[in-house]
Symmetry: C2
Subunit: 580 residues, 2 copies
């Protein structure tokens, strides 16, 4: 199409509310328009990008024998009551009433709708396994939408649901889906996406993986081991502190530490190492406000999600009452008589001689040996993993924490939804069984924005050919030059005749403005028709990523452009895994 | 794909709540699943049908230079306040609040979102004309959803919006869109759709057309003239009664008509024709409850939409108070002294001698001549048109009323939305102007269901090849016969290799059950592989519509099937108009 007719404005000024590059370019390039907080309309270029992403996703889902269906956006509240999520999910679930006063919700995921669709179909083992997916609008009433399409309230999502008669079968299918996910990101031009073990949060289930695109602007932290390829999210990564080379065992001794309330202050005051100190972090359980004391190595922090998962209860920082028996600032494991849950983080394991609170104002112990002085305790993992920690996989001190955007996730759901919603099937022996489920999501708009975040320069996005809004950006540099215009027009027609997706700029504007627009639209192959090169029977062909630049014969330009498109596709496909 | 794996159940029993065939087959054939009142999930076969319809629509919209965008489903109430529709639209607009208490609505059409998207883009005449469209989920909180996908609350719709600088330009584009609409229905296999002039109702604007598929189960009435091709909806059709051959003028005479309150009773009592009587129908305006008396020929009814449009006010049947001056049952034009709006329908025009109420209990006039006895009155058209009425176009007594389903509509909106929402552009002379809009809608699911309603037999839908869920339904009649199974398997692979969309039934079930499922799935070309024909090296190829049936050589079956698919496509394409 002609750029002159493309709906949407492009401009130079950075919008004030844009803090990450993909958001900036999405607005400056005429890709999106804000309609309300976290709600956007898509202009044609972004609609074209998302359509291509959807086509890739459909192809990979179909290859996994998943069948496309469509669930409603507006769902009856009663369906979510069946699963218990009507009550359990917070305000991000948008609840409302229809004209008759019936409870409704806007679907944020569709496990309930999936079970409702196939509950009768899946009533006998012979139908299993099966898998369904949809690409549909979802709504999640985020408190703080931000970063353009990265975190929105309304979004287009592919969500798939699989149904199995055994855990083994689920795991087999889960592996196929994981492979499809790898392929989707590879085909979309971001093979660098890593899959990490994750905490499955609200959705439930046990094993799950998040697909993370590592970019500095990412809102999530990801744990990686460059040595062995281990990856996990912060909640799922086991923290192993390096306690080699600690001081030998010493006698227990109570020391006066006046007004030294933080572990850093105490260690400083005593001239000892925080790595050999024991910090107490005190919480209260949300359910009954009872106290939870976590003892952890002084230089580590608590990962509260790990703690919540361990306690099966949410917690909040404690307000310590006078009658609690806890001595704030001087709390320690030895002579601890408060009536509360006591947890030992395993960062303490292996330290022979600790500095810790004495449960008495202005006093600490030094030389504390947990095994000798307290006895056998159970060490658990509730510590926040840090760069340089020991990799739980290869054992090297190689852990690295990176920032990333979650571009997809897959879950082994188990029977959470099938059980609560009464879905059963008759097995080979006539017995009644509950099917096991998996679910698999990708946010389409977020993926588009993430690619933009990972692939851009200072001037705009550098779209991979596979999801670019157009394949070729054709610039006519002099529309007032009849020969130049005719040559460009003819090339436009010839490329279109070959099925090439061409955006044609034949506006009578300055070269600088023309190229600025081209940069913002990020089309991979640019063909520039100008009078000077035309005199030599040539046009310029450059790629948006600047890796290729050449003068090609005008008469051969169509073939050269087609070859370049093929080359760019081939480069992407080289990185795509085989299907399993 | 294999039918054995197709998600969804097919069954024989007619569901109790299905009153029209397309709804019955949609449920019985495993196409849709009810989730809530007027809200459905789509199973794979229906998703495949709607995807093909969407592809046809996209193709035709693109050919009209309309650019695909995406608007949100959940819209801020403030946007609808700008246009005034937040207040003016009834309960079918679903209003709710988000977590912060902000007013939201679920989009039922997207005029406001369209203006919001292009308000800045369209600020100069040089950008015009332009057109945008989306295919997106919409919600309309219908009081009485019914008939499966025909009238639902949530639906997928294509809606396009065009922007122009002159009425002429809009009309030119409107004609292109009308042509595209014709082509869409023709390509979807229902060339019999007629476009009718319509009342544009809530959307506003002046000229508009509805595309109606004529089926007995339709919920709308359509006025057609088989003589000249005139068509209109009931509101838009001018009613012209046949008053030729009426009795000559007579003297006015008051007659005693005790207890004869309806015009039929009176005419019966007086032994006169209702065709020469004047009936009074009495309403009250919704705005101020003032009375409106409509005088109309005794055998005609009022079309209340026509009356509402005339009065620019809604009306309700009157509750006649004693001090109104109106004499119920004996109300007539002569000696009418009540303080109210009086309307003369033009069905009365040309009648020389009327029977009418005398505004006095138990008395009527006969021989009433309006011109002589009342004077010059203005005749207006508020009558419901009837079969046999005079065609407003060709003047013949040929009007026919048919039932139909509205499968699309197009509107010349004018400046209703651009004006209220402050969209302006600078014209060639530097002046500020308001753009003129058109809008163009098609319900995707309704179209699918409508095709099913128009194209079915007693056993299921007969899908046109262009939108069928699959092109070929391959039946292996004897899976326990190794040779038969191998031959069918090979044919399945060979057809797929050629890109043919095949649904393969290799289940070990009775032929009757197999064919019943095939009928419900309505796939146009059926290939039956059975041991008997295979002995002669043949397979059976029949079309779902039973027009073609042949034994073809097994070795040539792929080519024969491809030729049949081409033939079926060609038959459809023969009926498709040229693009204008």
């Amino acid at each position: 199409m002609k750029l002159a007719n493309l709906v949407g404005l492009r401009f130079k000024e950075k919008p004030a509310d844009c803090v990450i590059d993909s958001h900036t370019f999405s607005v400056r390039g005429g890709y999106i328009k804000n309609v309300s907080n976290g709600i956007y309309s898509l202009y044609p270029p972004m609609k074209r990008v998302t359509a291509k992403i959807e086509a890739i996703i459909r192809d990979e889902m179909d290859a996994c024998d998943s069948q496309e269906v469509l669930f409603p956006v507006a769902l009856p509240g009663s369906l979510w009551e069946e699963s218990g999520r009507y009550e359990s999910v917070g305000k991000e679930l948008l609840r409302f009433e229809d004209r008759s006063g019936a409870k409704m919700v806007l679907g944020m995921t569709h496990e309930e709708a999936a079970v409702q669709l196939v509950r009768e179909y899946g009533s006998t083992y012979a139908k299993y396994p099966f898998s369904i997916y949809q690409i549909q609008t979802k709504f999640r009433d985020e408190a703080r939408p931000r970063a353009g399409l990265i975190r929105v309230r309304e979004f287009t999502m592919k969500d798939a649901y699989s149904f199995h008669t055994s855990q083994e079968d689920l795991e087999q299918y889960y592996a196929r889906m994981a492979n499809a996910y790898d392929r989707i990101f590879e085909r979309a031009g971001i093979p660098e996406v890593v899959s990490v073990k994750s905490d499955s949060g609200m959705i439930g289930g046990s094993v799950s993986h998040e697909y993370m695109l590592l970019v500095d602007a990412g809102e999530d932290s990801i744990v990686l081991c460059p040595e062995c390829g281990y990856s996990a999210n912060m909640e799922a990564a086991d923290t192993t502190a390096d306690n080699s080379g600690v001081s030998p065992m010493q006698d227990l001794e109570k020391v006066y530490t006046p007004h030294q309330k933080t572990i850093e202050d105490v260690c400083n005051y005593l001239n000892s190492r925080t790595e050999e100190s024991c910090k107490a972090v005190i919480y209260q359980k949300n359910s009954d406000d009872s106290y939870v004391i976590v003892f952890i190595r002084g230089d580590y922090e608590i990962n509260e999600t790990k703690l919540t998962n361990l306690l099966k209860d949410k917690v909040h920082p404690a307000e310590i009452s006078e009658d609690s028996g806890i001595v704030p600032g001087f709390c320690g494991p030895y002579n601890q008589h408060a009536n509360c849950t006591v947890i030992y983080d395993r960062t303490l394991e292996g330290i022979e001689s600790l500095c810790a609170g004495a449960n008495e104002p202005d006093y600490h112990y030094i030389g504390l040996n947990i095994k000798r002085d307290i006895g056998d305790v159970e060490y658990v993992d509730v510590a926040k993993i840090r760069t340089g920690d020991i990799c739980p996989c290869c054992g090297k001190k190689s852990i690295k924490i990176s920032r990333g955007i979650e571009v997809g996730n897959i879950f082994q759901l188990g029977t959470k939804y099938s059980k609560s919603m009464g879905m059963t099937y008759i097995d080979e022996n006539g017995g009644e069984q509950i099917p096991i489920m998996g679910c698999y999501g990708i946010g389409v708009g977020r993926l588009a924005a993430s690619v933009m975040e990972a692939k851009h320069d200072n001037y705009g996005p550098v779209w991979p050919i596979s999801i670019a809004p157009w394949q070729v950006h054709l610039c006519c540099m002099r529309v007032d030059d009849a020969e130049c215009k005719a040559a460009a027009d003819k090339l436009y027609a010839a490329l279109q005749a070959k099925g090439v997706e061409v955006l044609y700029d034949d506006r009578d504007i300055r070269a600088g403005a023309m190229f600025a627009d081209a940069d913002l639209l990020g089309v991979p192959v640019r063909v520039v028709v100008g009078p000077k090169n035309l005199k030599n029977g040539q046009v310029e062909m450059v790629t948006r990523d600047k890796r290729y630049s050449a003068l090609v014969d005008y008469d051969n330009a169509v073939a050269e452009v087609q070859a370049m498109i093929e080359k760019l596709f081939a480069e992407i496909n080289e990185n795509v895994k085989e299907r399993i």
